[in-house]
Amino acid sequence: MFGLANPERFMRFTRPVTPGLWALAAVLLAVGTWLSFTAPEDYQQGDTVRIMFVHVPAATLGLMAYAALGISSFFALVFRHPLADAAARAAAVPGAAFTALALVTGSLWGKPMWGAWWAWGDARLMSVLILFLFYLGYIALRASIDDEARAGRAAAVLGLVGLINLPIVKFSVDWWNTLHQPASLLRMGGPSLSEVFLIPLLTMMAAYAALFGALWLTAIRTEITRRRVLTLRARAAMEA
């Protein structure tokens, strides 16, 4: 994996992988959507259960993206790796988008289920909202410091500080009395969902994961290319 740390090798490796991921994401999204619409109605929730197939993958990916951001920040800070810095930056906006999608779809699901669009004081909702604010703070900090290297390192520190929120989000439904559904997938005793819902859900999770992977790799490649352009421009200006 560290062989990919070389930007040239990374670009060569990801050249075929990135379009492959986009294609995989497209296929999985198509299959997942079809499966979501052909899954049976829930005996309690009726048709609204289908929001789960958008909401749960979005929330999972919001968390995973922050983990990617945090780990990249760690490598950027400790090993001073420019590729890690690019990876952290690239994970921020897609991660924030997935988290926002999770919050919005959760709210749309909450209205028919709980009778409320939002529940202040609910541990899961609060911790995911805080996750979203951490994303925004990261993006704001990165954008506000003019020197790019310095901005990257300051943002890396902030990214690492925010990692503490991830276990809180995951275990919030166990540690606190919440309205939100307790864990049904990653729990002791295995998933508690029946197969007819589990298969579409897992397909959509894989689809979102492939989508995030494609977005992330594309953004890193763009970042590397952008830095190359800046270097070339600087060199051209010097030689002119």
Partner: protein
């Protein structure tokens, strides 16, 4: 006294006098806190019954905002005139420098606010027998605010619009103490035991106290490079 102890004492005295004396010090923060506390009942139209349920919440939001006031100049002043570089090359590790600055911030802003908080709580309609608890919770929360705020100030060093940026960066980190602090007051107001919420508040403050200096020192070194 070992040279490290001397350096620590000298720095502490300097930071405390700067934080206390420079730019209005505690009066500025307390004045801002008082203004916010007065603004809310005015905005609510003067109905005391309506204020009661949100009194502790508003008090804590005002406390959080007032704690953010003097953060911007905490490190920036020293960065601008080169004192931060001297401190970085001095006998004390940057982590200790950060901790001393954060503690001075607490002593000069957090504790005065904690003394003003009972007055604000009375204004907002909280019952008088909750006042000692208000002061205690505000003092502990203030410690958390000071260390987390100092971390935000260190991260935003050298950025444009530092003050606003600190507020954005520090806002998600300020949420736990506000929730726990207001929760402690709410529980006490409803006759329940506030100790669990106070314990969580203290845990947050200790967490910020132990991890803040390391993250803050990394941020300062980054800004000096």
């Amino acid at each position: 006294m070992s040279p490290l102890r001397t350096a620590l004492t000298v720095l502490f005295r300097r930071e405390l006098s700067l934080a206390w004396g420079g730019g209005g010090g505690p009066l500025l923060a307390c004045g801002f806190f008082a203004c916010l506390t007065v603004l809310v009942p005015l905005a609510a139209g003067g109905d005391p019954a309506g204020l009661k349920p949100v009194a502790s919440a508003i008090g804590w939001v005002a406390l959080a905002l007032a704690s953010m006031l003097s953060l911007e100049r905490l490190f920036e002043r020293d960065l601008d005139d080169g004192a931060l570089d001297l401190l970085a090359t001095g006998p004390l590790p940057l982590e200790a420098v950060f901790a001393v600055k954060a503690v001075s911030q607490w002593l000069a802003t957090g504790l005065p606010l904690a003394l003003t908080a009972p007055v604000a709580a009375l204004t907002l309609g909280l019952s008088p027998d909750l006042l000692p608890l208000t002061a205690l919770a505000a003092a502990i929360g203030g410690l958390g605010f000071a260390f987390t705020g100092a971390l935000g100030a260190a991260l935003a060093l050298g950025a444009r619009r530092g003050g606003l940026l600190i507020a954005i960066v520090v806002l998600p980190l300020f949420i736990p103490p506000v929730v726990f602090g207001a929760g402690a007051l709410e529980r006490a107001a409803n006759g329940m035991d506030p100790i669990p919420a106070l314990a969580l508040l203290t845990a947050y403050a200790l967490f910020a106290l132990s991890l803040g200096p390391f993250a803050g020192a990394a941020a300062i070194r980054n800004a000096q490079s």
